[in-house]
């Protein structure tokens, strides 16, 4: 009887951790200055978790810590209950990342870049080429696939990054300002894609300043302010807690650093005084 009891607890625990990204008291200091301070949260499989915060709040640093590009000063990042540093290669195989800024090797063509990423990820040759072509076609880059990325617009570069992040069917998808530079139809497509990927069991951590999109797409949001988590709940619960009509109002109450209307007024006055 006790065995069955413990097995049930074990099953429950495993079920909780499988397909879950967990940050546990993660800190990052630069020359003693905290950029991220004791950040803890969980992002579960099947839901889109929004990661919000004003400029300089520590979002980019957290994203880089999760990807392994930065090492935390203290704290642990776990995926499926296992620290990501325990087997970094295995973690990277399951990670897809769209960075905030579209830094790419611009002397390569879009196709060549994706081919290189596929090769570095050790994807099988069979099927990968077709997969790349299909990604490029669906993202509207087919016609420019043999042109150098240096000639691509910001939106086109963003599409290349998106394809590179999804090419290997990752379990954890980190999206840092993925809508930046995208046109309306691609934005709508991407919004639907994010929801679909979450429904298909991916863990999606989505960071953006576009609060309307976050409100539509995310099931939960985490709000960061000066390196600390100031809110972590569903959007409905946060609205109720803050008695605010929208996520934008919640965000303004929790993390806005300036009074927006007086600041705008002051700037307009300054412009007029030039």
């Amino acid at each position: 009887m006790y065995v069955a009891y413990y097995l049930t607890i074990l099953e429950y625990t495993v079920a909780c951790y499988i397909g879950m990204l967990e940050l546990d008291c993660v800190c990052k200091r630069f020359a003693g200055i905290p950029a991220v301070d004791s950040v803890s949260f969980r992002a579960a499989r099947g839901e889109v978790t929004g990661y919000l915060g004003p400029n300089g709040s520590g979002k980019s640093t957290t994203m880089k810590i999760i990807t392994g590009l930065l090492e935390p000063t203290s704290g642990v990042v776990r995926f499926d209950g296992v620290p990501t540093t325990a087997d970094a290669s295995a973690f990277k195989r399951r990670l897809g990342y769209v960075p905030e800024e579209p830094h790419l090797y611009t002397h390569l063509t879009g196709y060549e870049y994706l081919e290189m990423v596929a090769q570095l990820r050790e994807l099988p040759e069979r099927g990968t080429r077709e997969r790349i072509e299909e990604f490029l076609r669906l993202l509207g880059l087919s016609g420019d696939r043999h042109a150098a990325i240096s000639g691509y617009s910001k939106g086109m570069r963003q599409k290349v990054l998106l394809a590179a992040a999804l090419l290997h069917n990752p379990d954890l998808i980190l999206l840092h300002e993925p809508f930046s530079g995208l046109d309306v139809s691609t934005s709508l497509m991407l919004r639907a894609l994010i929801e679909t990927l979450a429904r298909r069991g991916k863990v999606v951590l989505f960071s953006s300043h576009e609060l309307e999109i976050v409100e539509r797409v995310c099931s939960r949001v985490i709000i960061l302010h000066r390196g600390r988590v100031v809110a972590d709940d569903t959007i409905a619960a946060l609205r109720e807690w803050q008695a605010a009509p929208s996520l934008e109002a919640v965000f303004t109450q929790l993390a806005a650093e300036v009074e927006t209307t007086p600041a705008a007024q002051a700037i307009a006055d300054l412009v007029a005084g030039a």
Binding site: A31, K92, Y97, H103, L104, H107, L108, D144, A148, S153
Partner: protein
């Protein structure tokens, strides 16, 4: 000088050299120091040469011609090389167009701001080279005096000093403005697409021209030789001789044979200045507009199937990345050209100099063998040095994020890539060169040894290499350049003996033994490279410290 000009000048001054070429852990001051040491050391050599002149005034004025010419030619060469390195730095780039375009900045201020910044940096080259010689030569060429006071009060001393600097700066300006005029003329005449394609090859051609003009031009002997009609016609086309004439003219020691050359030195800089302004200034605004208007996406011409020697994996990714970067990056091609040029210059220098004649047998075949071994060494070294020239440090994150294999696999892939790129051209070109040139047994033996030499060097060059190609930058102060140069010099001297030994082995039928020894060397180098191939892959990370880590670089504080 307007406020706009001063601001632009200061901004452009620090943008002439691409700081991404320098590692995050490197030190700018050390890099500048290392770059400055070469001309200063060369200058010290010329200064000693000046002090060592044995003749007394006025005979010294003619006996110093060869050294004066060598110093002028070296000044022109170094200026030329710097001009090649800062190719197109006078022209606006896309960042200028996007940042300065919307601002009320006059095109004239923009052009002169860039020109002034580049000239200021260019002037450092002749200044560093000629600082010591200017003092030594002024004293050496001065008329005799009773005591130090007489010497200091002598007007001729100051005339020589002024003539010296005017000549050197004039020669530098001539080289720089000639290139600028040529670039401006082509930009004026050709459509932008064609200009972009031609420009990178023109840069390589200019580099070769400067090197070959320096090493192949004759050294002046006597006034009689210069007065020869045939010689005179030939020398009239060599600008270093024009400025030798100018120096004599300004110094007041003009010989009749120098007169026509001095006239050219008077006219040359004036002509190229006029041409540079004529072709560059009016087209500057058009160039800014073209930068913004150029077609957004231009497909690359498809060139057959990509290289797929190692299947579809890490090794192929790195090989393709290497080849694609090399074929599309002007800087990388130029660096490789620089190493090849350095190899060819070494051969010419050794063959022409007394030391080279002592070192090498008079047999033509031995000299050719020696030359080919030097060229192969320069090529392999050039390929290895390319690894440290970054393409885009900010894009490195993709290598780090996709690093799912063991570091040792990455090192092996880099080694394979460098081996393939180093050895393939040697294996393909050496038979084409040597089979028609030598008896087939000799040619076959030499080609075999040359390929083994390339393989051995390629393996040796990757010992302790833990970087992926083009993902790290030059670490100034940490690369032990002086030790490498000494090793290289020793290697060149040994190669001369090795070439003689090889030729004797070919004649004596001991070729298999020599090939076996070389194969042993290859195995040893390979093993050393393999054993030292451990450790994590090194990337050139942005510094995590303080402000940089907080992402202030995005705000323009840290470039």
């Amino acid at each position: 000088m307007s406020v706009q000009f001063r601001r632009l000048y200061r901004v452009f001054l620090f943008r002439v050299v691409d700081l991404e070429l320098l590692s995050a852990g490197g030190d700018v001051t050390r890099l500048v120091g290392q770059l400055a040491v070469l001309p200063v050391l060369l200058g010290a050599g010329f200064a000693f040469g000046g002090l060592g002149l044995r003749e007394r005034y006025p005979a010294v004025l003619e006996s110093a011609w060869a050294l004066e010419h060598a110093l002028i030619a070296t000044t022109m060469l170094l200026t030329g090389l710097f001009t090649v390195l800062s190719w197109e730095a006078t022209f606006p780039d896309l960042r200028d167009a996007m940042v300065l375009g919307p601002l009320p900045v006059r095109t004239r201020e923009l052009f002169f701001g860039k020109l002034a910044a580049l000239c200021a940096l260019q002037a450092l080259v002749p200044a560093a080279l000629n600082a010591l010689p200017s003092l030594a030569w002024t004293l050496a060429l001065a008329p005799p005096s009773q005591n130090l006071v007489d010497l200091v009060l002598m007007p001729q001393l100051y005339r020589t000093f002024a003539a010296f600097w005017l000549t050197m700066f004039g020669a530098s300006a001539f080289v720089f403005l000639s290139v600028l005029a040529l670039q401006g003329m082509l930009a004026h005449l050709l459509p932008r697409g064609a200009m972009l394609r031609i420009s990178s090859w023109l840069q390589l051609a200019a580099f070769c021209l400067f090197l070959s003009a320096y090493f192949l031009q004759p050294v002046p002997a006597t006034a009689v030789a210069l007065a020869d009609e045939v010689n005179g016609q030939f020398l009239a086309w060599l600008p270093a001789y024009w400025f030798l004439g100018l120096f004599q003219q300004l110094n007041g020691s003009m010989h009749a044979v120098m007169q026509p050359l001095a006239v050219r030195a008077d006219a040359g800089p004036a002509l190229v200045t006029a041409l540079a302004l004529l072709f560059n200034l009016p087209g500057y605004r058009r160039r800014l507009r073209e930068l913004v208007e150029q077609p957004e996406v231009v497909p690359y011409p498809r060139r057959g199937r990509p290289i797929r020697l190692y299947g579809f994996g890490l090794s192929t990714a790195i090989l393709q990345f290497f080849v694609r970067s090399l074929t599309r990056s002007r800087q990388h091609r130029l660096l490789l050209g620089f190493y090849l040029g350095a190899g060819l210059s070494t051969i010419i220098l050794l063959i022409r100099s007394g030391a080279g004649r002592d070192l090498l047998s008079s047999l033509q075949q031995t000299r050719t063998a020696f030359g080919s071994a030097i060229v192969v060494a320069a090529w392999v070294l050039g390929v290895r040095m390319l690894v440290g020239l970054p393409v885009s440090l900010k894009a490195n994150w993709v290598f780090r994020l996709t690093q799912i294999g063991r570091p040792i696999d990455y090192h092996a892939a880099t080694r394979r890539t460098l081996l393939l790129v180093s050895v393939t051209p040697v294996a393909l070109l050496a038979p084409i060169v040597f089979l028609p040139l030598w008896p087939w047994q000799d040619a076959f033996g030499h080609v075999l040894l040359l390929v083994l030499w390339a393989v051995m060097l390629a393996h040796a060059s990757v010992i302790r290499l833990r970087k992926l190609p083009f993902t790290c930058a030059y670490q100034a102060g940490k690369s032990h350049v002086h030790l490498r140069l000494l090793a290289l010099l020793g290697g060149v001297l040994l190669l001369g003996k090795a070439a003689e030994f090889e030729q004797r082995a070919i004649r004596d039928g001991r070729m298999p033994m020599l090939a076996g020894a070389m194969a042993g060397g290859v195995c040893l180098a390979r093993e050393l490279a393999r054993r030292n191939g451990g450790g994590d892959v090194e990337f050139d990370d942005e510094p995590e410290e303080a402000a940089a880590g907080l992402g202030l670089s995005r705000d323009g504080f840290l470039g």
